[in-house]
């Protein structure tokens, strides 16, 4: 065996050929292999075949059917919820679900909203996080209740009539029956419902999503005082529709380009009209008469932030001193001014 042959054999040993094919050689080694290949046509055919295999595999990866990620997500959520139910300790379950929630919500993508508690601290607000995913249960908060795995229920499992939050809200007003509006007819599926604050103005939010993950959020609350109510709103590119009906106040947050917006308002309005005890003219104890005409709840105001912040839900008692200008906290959350108690003069006109 000549010295040249030995050099060629060394350059074309099996491991080196594989590394050549997979781009794991440095430039000098690649030159050595290419030089050696020039005298070995049979090895050239082998290398070409391997390179072709790699190219085909990468191409195959691009043509695999990876659609239907919605079903995948829903199944994954269901699996996690099942596992969650089997966890022994509450702490472990919380950590597990929190991690899962972050991952899943990032996975879900879609409209980005981050919500501080609606009637909680003075800086609570809906904040815009353009392009960022919604984080339902961020690490380090107590928002996730171990007894409420429904926060992770799959879309197919979310039965509107079974939503405990809706039942709870209805229970705040004697004689009131409420159910989550069914928007399946316009392509919106109920994802989940949440109770926002049990200690102040009772409120809930219902989150709907369409096929592409775009979200529409409906807020509902029971009015406890005579103050003018409004929900703090909204991320850029979103619209808030607010209205009041009997003892209930509502807000709808949706993307401004949502094609179903008017249909949603109509359906919600109809549902609410059916739910409220219209014949009982007497105001519910602890609540105030409707500020809007009792014809199904016309829209009282439209808020498009961040230029025009709207006031938050007032605290139950006592009312803080009214601020006249919006303030901004260190983390960029805009705290709108508190409006005085509604009067005939300053009440917004129906559209």
């Amino acid at each position: 065996m000549t010295q040249d042959q030995t050099r060629v054999d060394d350059a074309l040993d099996n491991d080196r050929l594989l590394r050549f094919v997979d781009g794991a050689l440095d430039d000098d080694q690649r030159v050595q292999v290419l030089t050696a290949l020039s005298s070995r046509p049979e090895t050239v055919a082998r290398v070409e075949a391997y390179l072709h295999q790699n190219a085909r595999l990468r191409e195959l990866g691009q043509h695999l059917p990876m659609h239907d990620s919605r079903t995948f997500r829903a199944d994954l959520q269901g699996e996690i919820v099942r596992r969650l139910a089997g966890r022994r300790t509450r702490v472990a379950a919380f950590r597990y679900a929190a991690a899962a929630a972050v991952a899943l919500t990032v996975l879900g993508g879609g409209t980005a909203l981050t919500l501080d508690r609606l009637a909680g601290s003075g800086t609570s607000a809906l904040r815009s996080s353009a392009g960022a995913p919604e984080i339902y249960f961020p690490f380090g908060t107590t928002q996730l209740a171990a007894s409420e795995p429904a926060g992770l229920v799959t879309q197919t499992d979310a039965a509107p009539t079974d939503l405990a939050s809706v039942t709870w809200l209805a229970g705040q007003v004697p004689g009131l029956t409420l159910s989550a509006p069914e928007l399946d007819g316009i392509g919106l599926h109920l994802v989940r419902g949440e109770t926002l604050d049990a200690n102040r103005a009772p409120a809930i939010r219902l989150i709907y999503a369409d096929e592409v993950g775009s979200r529409v959020v409906l807020y509902a609350a029971v009015a406890r005082s005579n103050a003018d109510h409004a929900f703090r709103l909204v991320p850029e590119g979103h619209l808030s529709l607010q209205w009041r009906r009997g003892p209930m106040i509502f807000a709808l947050v949706a993307p401004t380009d949502s094609p179903q917006l008017s249909a949603i308002v109509e359906l919600v309005g109809k549902g609410v009209a059916q739910a409220l005890p219209r014949e009982t003219a007497e105001p519910v104890p602890g609540t105030v008469p409707a500020a809007a005409p009792a014809d199904g709840g016309p829209i009282q105001s439209i808020a498009v932030p961040p230029a025009r912040p709207v006031p938050e839900v007032p605290k139950a008692a006592p009312e803080p001193a009214a601020a006249t200008t919006a303030t901004t906290t260190g983390d960029g959350v805009i705290t709108p001014p508190t409006l005085p108690v509604a009067t005939k003069a300053n009440e917004p006109k129906p559209l």
Binding site: N14, D15, L18, R19, D22, A24, R46, A49, Y50, Q53, N54, R56, L57, R58, E59, L60, G61, Q62, H63, L64, P65, M66, F72, D75, L76, E79, I80, R83, A92, R95, Y96, A98, A99, A100, V102, A103, V106, L107, P138, F139, G140
Partner: protein
Amino acid sequence: MIWQRGKMRSEAASQAIAEELVVHVAALRRYALLLLGDSADADDAVQETLTRVLARAKSWHTIGDLRPYLFSTLHNVFVDSTRREKRMATDFLSEDILASLVTPPSQQQHVELRDTVVALAKLPNEQREVVLLVGLEGLSYLEAAEALGIPVGTVMSRLSRGREVLRSMTSRETSRKLRVVK
């Protein structure tokens, strides 16, 4: 205070991993589909993988490189399922993939992809895993070794054998087709 700062760092790191995890989901699903040959089985395997990883959130700080870790977990899921169901290589249902392949621009490309899927289906599991991890997912030999829990040398020998089998099968297919055309 120090404990709180450490906790915050840990939470931030966990959240970062949770977000990075999502980036790899598509790759996991793709790999699992070609490994298992059935989309439902593949999704089950990936879900089980993610569930296991999420369940170990407490020890995420020990993870060096997430990608091999995820593929390693998926490998374990795959091994468990084959052990449980006694799945053989012949159980590989490439029809599921073939039927739903997104049609590439040319018919020839489509035929070649079909041939690749069929050839992959005939590979032993160990070789298919290595060929897919390196060829499809672009893992380095070291990462593939880490994912499969085997030495780098074993990765390379399996890869070499797998590629040679694939080459012989696809070249036979090609010559058979040429004869048919003739």
